[in-house]
């Protein structure tokens, strides 16, 4: 397979108080996960405007992760 493996590019919107913190803790615990996600910190997932998701797909994102 090699280079032909599909590597999705994922954008993540993480709540400052829970999911962002959890991602920090994952780091502290040295949990290893695939390097496909790029994170954007927001203060609460209540901030998620559907516009952000549409915009993310329009720039070519393969997946959107919202964690809160």
């Amino acid at each position: 397979m090699g280079k032909e493996t599909f590597e999705p590019r994922i954008i993540g919107f993480l709540c400052n108080w829970c999911c962002y913190a959890a991602a920090d803790s994952a780091g502290v615990a040295r949990f290893q996960y695939p390097p496909n996600i790029r994170t954007i910190r927001i203060m609460c997932t209540g901030r998620m405007d559907p516009l952000f998701i549409i915009d993310a797909f329009s720039v070519g994102t393969d997946g959107v992760f919202v964690g809160g």
Binding site: V28, R30, Q32, R38, T39, I40, G46, A56, T61
Partner: protein, 917 residues
């Protein structure tokens, strides 16, 4: 009082706090390996270490017992290894004298001795572990990364037994008291273990399951649903049996049984601190007979020495929320003692004026190696070079440790040298380090909002350690996204809103409300105390005597007198709160009084609306004169002539509580039953008393009285929820029928009196909940902001909670909570202002169409609708806003702007992400 000198001995750390960057190189090079006390010696650490990754202070220190240089004057490898030159073996022990106005003792608790633990095989059998050891095993950041493995052979443990009451409720080891927390943490550890591995079988052997705290029984029931087995029994001993551990116990029917397990957990109790006696001597305070701090039921946070207060487990075994509540309460008491000198020793920091940042962004990017934490995985130089190639980036560099003091100074210099007006630091997490870097910006004359972080450590190097090339690419992406956001950052003013009305409104005039009012007044602020009924005192009016011996009537009289005569306290009886408008610092309440309506201006609100006894219908209550509630029995017992005629009494516990009408435990009824039983025996030593109970929840030092009642001949018989006692009337006499499990037969008693222990229900507060936008739990009690860390606050700023309105609890706990709520409430009053985070929302009135969606969705009551001309417009109450952005996400006209998280900023991050796809 108010004037103490404390002599404090400061031991050397041998690593300079200011220079240490917590890189850990000293530990890597140190040849001495020691047990890691933080992990209960289940892991190893080095001579120089920090207790855990998130430790505060973050700097390392050297264990003098382990150090080769300090003991043998050799080695010193760490000295040359440390790039920051932070190791200092010349540091000496210092003695400092501190001038203080008050002291709060919070030394915590001690550990149960190994001698006691050894009774259950600890120390002799490797797979017998303490509760704290098991806690570390279940921790994902612990020595086994959360795997539950046996210390003896490293195999997964499949059958685990928890033995309760280790070093607790055990007179043979000198600890007659109940440690109050072990049942909870055993249930928690059992559930966490089952989450790690659902196939683990867990049995908890217990005498009484004491999960009496707010919402705690639900957690116990969830554990049961998850398959945790609860066995009512005290285990006699643990023996080795081949590869397994065999425990012997007697079940409820009195049968001797044996069972094998892979691992045995001893959830040990809380001991008084090991140095309690020397601390007591130094502080000049008394200890109780268990060597915890001596206090009283009505003055639970005061030691025997004026001006010295206590909080946490040293006051008596307790859990986190109670410790936190104690702490706020003790702070309030210290503030009362020192109200005349408030602010006299506080220093405030001055910053240079903010420079004009002009128009075009000039972005500086600092990429951090974090020692080897980032640099060991990510090609930091490549990331810095990449950052330099981005538009508007005028400066990019790498640092070994961006957070080090000297790097902070260097960043300040680079800001002015390069006239930077936006700063990006690519390093660890903004959740811990953003405030530090924002401080650096302020020192450089930049607005702190012109800062953005890229998390290339916690979210990158640490989690992609095996793929350095991908981690470097990810770091570049994160930096590009941060730079994109930075371009659109704007300076935001740090707002301070004045607290205009330096007064408090206390709703409810029971013991909690009166205590809160007295403390607020004692700290120098005016207080409106609003009580619905015609008199103050609430439930305390019906208490005639206390287990601990104090005279509640005298205390009530005295408290009421102090409230009525305090010039700061304005009492409104027969009055109720009809409406409250405004926000923290600026509330106006409209109250209905017998004279009409009145508007009260105040800055904070304490909710102390209380609770009342559940009204029973069970067990022939109201039908037979022989059936009374514990409260009514207490009333009768205060007439000693009548009491002397009471010969045969049966008491039934949990009437209304724990599953009948009220799903929760009412927490006070077990103590009440024991109190009345002892009173009956005091007046008539030959009386026969039988108490039918589910779990006797006489937690803490109350256990002494339970023990005393049993010694005096009170018979306690357990029943299950499924087979409650039956009460019938035959020929004008009541009969109580129940199953005695030990005799395995039905028993019928014909008592003179049946006392039923009825639970506590909350007052009717639905209207108040709506007025203040403060939520209720499913049980109808108020829901605090956070069950552990903010137990007396609401999510709505400026509103605080105490007493039975929060949940059932004994009077001493209500008093602590009330004092704590008063302490919290006085913080904005004492400051005189409320700081507003720049991340709050603001609404453009021109775009707002006044639809009100934002107002209805805001969880913090931070948006109000106002009339502008003929139109309705939404307006943010900045003092209450938490910056969550729910309003902005739902505004149909995009009229809401979130400071630091604008649509443009977030969209620019998304688009920057897309640039390299």
């Amino acid at each position: 009082m108010g004037n103490f000198t404390a002599r404090v001995r400061r031991e050397p750390r041998y690593i300079d706090l200011g220079l240490c960057t917590a890189c850990g190189i000293c530990a890597n090079y140190c040849p001495v390996i020691i047990g890691d006390a933080y992990n209960e010696n289940l892991a190893l650490t080095k001579g120089p270490h920090r207790d855990y990754v998130q430790a505060v202070p973050a700097s390392f220190y050297i264990d003098p017992a382990a150090c080769l240089y300090l003991n043998h004057e050799t080695c010193q490898i760490c000295v040359s290894a440390c790039q920051a030159k932070a190791i200092n073996f010349y540091e000496q022990e210092e003695t400092v004298d501190l001038e203080v106005g008050a002291v709060i003792l919070a030394p915590g608790f001690g550990r149960i001795s190994e001698e006691v633990l050894s009774t259950y095989g600890y120390g002799r059998l490797a797979d017998v572990v303490t509760g704290m050891e098991f806690e570390r095993l279940t921790s994902a950041s612990g020595p086994t990364m959360g795997k539950i493995i046996r210390p003896s052979d490293g195999q997964h443990a499949h059958r685990i037994a928890f033995l309760q009451c280790i070093g607790s409720r055990d007179v043979s080891c000198g600890n007659g008291y109940c440690s109050s927390v072990c049942c909870m943490y055993a249930v928690k550890e059992a559930v966490v273990a089952k989450e790690h591995d659902p196939d683990i079988e867990i049995s908890i052997f217990y005498m009484d399951m004491r999960t009496q705290g707010k919402e705690f029984d639900y957690a116990r029931l969830r554990a049961k649903e998850k398959g945790v087995r609860f066995v009512r029994s005290r285990v006699a001993g643990v023996q080795e049996n081949g590869n397994a551990l065999e425990i012997s116990y007697v079940n409820e029917a009195g049968k001797h049984l044996k069972e094998s397990f892979d691992m045995v957990v001893l959830p040990e109790g809380l001991e008084s601190p090991g140095d309690a006696q020397s601390l007591a001597r130094a502080a000049g305070i008394d200890l109780n007979h268990y060597h915890f701090c001596s206090t009283g039921s009505f003055v639970p946070l005061q030691t025997t020495r004026p001006g010295i207060f206590v909080s946490g487990a040293f006051q008596g075994p307790k859990d986190v929320p109670e410790s936190v509540t104690d702490a706020s309460g003790a702070a309030a008491l210290a503030a009362e003692a020192l109200k005349m000198v408030r602010g006299s020793r506080v220093e405030s920091k001055e910053y240079p004026a903010e420079i004009d940042i002009g128009q075009a962004p000039r972005i500086g990017v600092f990429v951090c190696s974090c020692g080897t934490n980032v640099g060991g995985v990510v090609d930091v130089k490549a990331v810095a070079d990449y950052a330099a190639s981005l538009d508007d980036v005028v400066f990019a560099d790498m640092n070994l440790f961006s957070c080090a003091q000297n790097t902070q100074e260097a960043i300040t210099e680079k800001i002015s040298e390069n006239r930077l007006n936006r700063v990006v630091v690519a390093a660890c997490t903004p959740r811990t380090h953003e405030p530090l870097f924002q401080e650096t910006l302020k020192n450089a004359g930049l607005n702190p909002c012109l800062f953005e972080m890229a998390n290339i450590r916690d979210h990158c190097s640490w989690v992609h350690a095996a793929v350095p090339a991908e981690a470097t690419e990810k770091s570049k992406d994160l930096v590009r996204m941060a730079v994109a956001k930075a371009r659109r950052l704007e300076p935001l003013p740090e707002q301070k809103l004045p607290v205009t009305h330096k007064a408090a409104l206390v709703i409810g005039g029971g013991m909690a409300g009166m205590t809160a009012a007295l403390s607020i007044a004692g700290q120098g602020f005016d207080c409106f105390l609003v009580e619905e009924s015609g008199e103050l005192g609430g439930n305390l009016r019906h208490i005639r005597f206390m287990l601990s011996g104090e005279d509640p009537r005298k205390i009530l009289q005295d408290t009421e007198e102090r409230v009525r005569s305090n010039p700061h306290i304005h009492v409104y009886t027969n009055s109720s709160v009809e409406d409250v408008s405004g926000y923290v610092g600026n509330f106006v309440a409209s109250i209905r009084t017998p004279e009409g309506h009145e508007n009260l201006e105040h800055g904070v609100i304490v909710v102390a609306t209380g609770g009342k006894p559940y009204e029973p219908k069970q067990y022939l209550y109201g039908k037979s004169t022989q059936v009374v509630t514990q409260g009514e029995l207490e009333e009768r017992l205060s007439d000693s002539d009548e009491a002397k005629r009471i010969n045969n009494v049966v008491m039934i516990q949990c009437v209304g509580s724990r599953g009948q009408d009220l799903p929760y435990c009412s927490k006070i009824c077990c103590g009440q039953a024991v109190k009345n039983a002892l009173k009956i025996l005091e007046l008539n030593p030959s009386a026969n008393i039988t108490v039918l109970y589910r779990d006797m929840r006489t937690y803490g030092f109350m256990e002494d009285y339970y023990q005393l009642a049993r010694e005096k001949g009170v018979i306690f018989v357990h029943f299950d929820k499924e087979s409650p006692p039956e009460v019938t009337e035959k020929g004008g006499r009541i009969q109580v029928e129940f199953v005695d499990k030990i005799l395995d037969e039905r028993v019928i008693l014909e008592p003179d009196l049946l006392a039923i222990s009825v639970g506590i229900v909350p007052s009717r507060v639905e209207a108040l909940s709506k007025i203040l936008k403060i939520p209720l739990t499913g049980d109808g009690f108020f829901l605090e902001a956070h069950p552990k860390l903010r137990p007396v606050e609401f999510t709505v700023d400026g509103v605080y909670l105490c007493g039975l309105a929060h949940g059932p609890k004994p009077i001493s706990e209500s008093i602590v909570q009330a004092t704590a709520a008063a302490g919290k409430a006085c913080i904005p009053l004492a400051k005189g202002y409320v700081t507003v985070d720049p991340i709050v929302s603001s609404i453009d009135p021109d775009s707002c169409i006044g639809c009100g969606i934002c107002e209805s969705l805001c969880p913090y009551a931070a948006i109000k609708m106002i009339k502008v001309g003929k139109k309705k417009k939404a307006e943010t109450i900045s003092a209450s806003c938490k910056g969550c952005g729910i309003c902005a996400a739902h505004c149909p006209t995009l009229a809401i702007y979130m400071g630091g998280f604008t649509n443009e900023q977030i969209l620019s991050q998304i688009r920057a992400f897309g640039e390299e796809l």
